[in-house]
Amino acid sequence: MAEKIIRVLLAKPGLDGHDRGVRVIAKGLRDAGMEVIYLGLHQTPEDIVEAAIQEDVDVIGLSSLAGAHMTIFPKVIELLKEKNAEDILIVGGGIIPEDDLKSLEDQGVDKLFLPGTTITEIAEFIRSKMDSRAA
């Protein structure tokens, strides 16, 4: 039997137009043996959730630098719940203030990575979460 390969959806919601950071993460996760489905810039929560369902991903990773995180993350979580798919792991990254961090994790974001986190840490986090689920 072929093995299970972790599938990760990466997107950059919001209005700002830089995706270099996401591309670096995409390459890092690819090199960590994952299949990274990249959606691109300016994705709405609806786009993200629909793509996550079509692609049957294990993880959604959102990068948010433009301060839209307090609206986008909760909306994605709400839509996933609506579709009965809240078991997809949600991680995020970007410049996120301390207070928001706590609030988002309370609302169901599995992990937010602050600037300076290494790709290895991110990959290890994802892998350990997947392993504990498969067990």
Binding site: D31, A32, E50, A51, A134
Partner: protein, 337 residues
Amino acid sequence: MEEWTFSQTGGGVLKGKAMNRQDLADRFRAGDRRAVARIISLIEQGDPLGTSLLAELYDPSKRAIRIGLTGAPGVGKSTLVNSFASILEKQKKKIGVVAIDPSSPFTKGAFLGDRVRMQDIKGTNVFVRSMATRGSTGGLSWPAWLTTAVLEAFGFDTIVIETVGVGQVDVEIRELVDTTCVVLQPEAGDSMQFLKAGLMEIADIYVVNKADKPGTNAMVADLKDFVKLITVRENGWRPPVVLTIANTGKGLDELIRAIDSHKGFLEQTKELDEKRKARIKRQLKQHFYEKMENEIWRAEWSDTLVQAAVNRIISGGDALKEAEELAASLIAGPNPV
């Protein structure tokens, strides 16, 4: 009734919920997109539940037009899929897309980036699945074959398959689809490249994309010369040359007309049925290969035989004779009478 829980096969949209096989089949029949997505994942992971569900859900009355887009990396295949599918979507067609990108032979990871170019097809009548080659060659993967069948069974009327960016010898796509579009771009070469065997031989339609770029006219002239030279394919079809600018949608109407007339041709000559038969045959053969691989070649009993043969050859045995005898014993199975 067998119970299957997805918590064992690992991640995915429905993994937390212990869904049984019947539930998944019912949801699929009811048009639940998550059920399609999940069956594709099972197939991709080599879970026998996936193929067995496909067999159950297969419905010979549901037939999709299968269109393949192939060509070198970056020629604009995904951008073409985007414009093509958005036109069809407006015609109320249901479109399934399988977009393949390469897996790393080193880490098995992949960057699946085709969706980035498909920003205009987010409606509910389109379903896009990105797949990695996962070790197969030829521009496709075996799960991509089965995924196409899953989408067909789900009721998509048009299925578009985008291969990985291919090289000259990757021609497997022509077996999977009804109409193969070979996508080229200006300055991809001249008459010398066109004469080379392989990719250039499989086109039912040649698409010269990026027709806004310099060099288009010269290349199209060369290409048309070449098409005249090959006159017609063995079946009587003369592949047209269509110019497109995928990111503006220019030429897409003509491409759609060319695809339609190829379909008309296939129906008229009964080749559509022949293609379907060949496909089923190919699928049976692949199934046989996989069974041989998993149940014979990788089995412990056969490994013992293989090792013994290796040792005899190393110490001077007749290699061909050993190979023949080994093959016969493998075919005879673990407990020959």
